[in-house]
């Protein structure tokens, strides 16, 4: 039954990811990437990670991609030359071969599975009883409190850095 949901979502994620890499107009690439994010959000729902699914839509598909689209429209990028110049053919071939090797290696590495791994306390039943968002929130404010606070400092530094970098007159 889950396959009925998984296969279309996986196909959508792969198709939109390929079009991010292959399309020439950056706007279309950004819109395809939003499609990938929505497909992944659906997969997160299938994996009972409702909080992450919603955050994926709000932060990635909402905030980050709006920033991308805003920058694409701010910079005039309509007339991009062909992304694959003829003189680059050997290098392209080499990178595709290397990448296929990477994919092969990843696939071989994940084949054995996790039969011997240690399992945590958050079984499906526990997550259903307490709620996914409550559990994530509880962990964020107990076990992961210091990383959580450091994240806020990182975001603050990023805000200041982005303002300094994008200011019209540097120096």
């Amino acid at each position: 039954m889950e396959w009925v949901v998984f296969i279309p979502l996986a196909a959508m994620a792969l198709a939109t990811a390929v079009s991010v890499v292959l399309l020439r107009n950056p706007i279309y690439c950004a819109l395809s990437l939003i499609g990938t994010f929505f497909a992944l959000s659906g997969l997160y729902l299938l994996l009972q990670a409702q909080f992450i699914a919603m955050v994926q839509v709000i932060i990635y598909a909402g905030a980050i991609m709006v920033l991308f689209l805003f920058v694409i429209m701010l910079l005039d990028l309509g007339h991009e030359p062909s992304p694959w110049p003829r003189r680059d053919r050997p290098r392209l071939l080499l990178s595709v071969v290397l990448v296929l090797l990477l994919l092969l290696e990843l696939t071989v590495a994940i084949r054995p599975g996790i039969s011997k791994a240690i399992r945590g306390p958050y079984t499906s039943a526990v997550v259903d009883a307490v709620g996914n968002t409550q559990l994530v929130g509880r962990l964020l404010f107990t076990d992961f409190l210091i990383p959580f606070e450091i994240t806020s400092i990182i975001l603050l530094i990023a805000i200041i850095g982005a303002m300094v970098l994008a200011r019209r007159h540097l120096g």
């Binding site: 997969l43 990448v99 994940i110 599975g113 945590g120 994240t151 990182i154 975001l155």
Partner: protein
């Protein structure tokens, strides 16, 4: 309840998405699209984090994904600011033309 879709299916999808992201970084010359490919790779890794979190009955993976998203947001804000600054100097976002550090 056991999931009917095995962990390996999610991991293979994640590996495929990561590979597509690597291809994007390697073959595209537009800095913005290279950035999008990097986001794709981050998302591929997030998918395997969430899948492991589900199949190992652990919540840590989802918390880590939350942190990855926060760092990705910071990275995108800074990266796009750098691209805007570059565009002001060079009138281009083609990474082949960005060679200010060449001696």
């Amino acid at each position: 309840m056991t999931a009917t879709v095995p962990l390996q299916a999610y991991l293979i999808l994640s590996a495929a998405l990561f590979t597509i992201g690597v291809i994007g970084v390697l073959i595209r010359r537009n800095a913005l699209i290279i950035f999008m490919a990097i986001e794709l790779m981050l998302n591929a890794v997030n998918l395997s984090f969430v899948a492991f979190s589900r199949f190992l009955d652990s919540m840590d993976g989802q918390v880590i994904v939350f942190f990855v998203m926060a760092v990705a947001a910071a990275e995108v804000a800074l990266g796009l600011a750098i691209i805007i600054a570059l565009y002001r100097n060079k009138e281009s976002v083609n990474v082949d033309e960005i060679n200010l550090l060449r001696g």
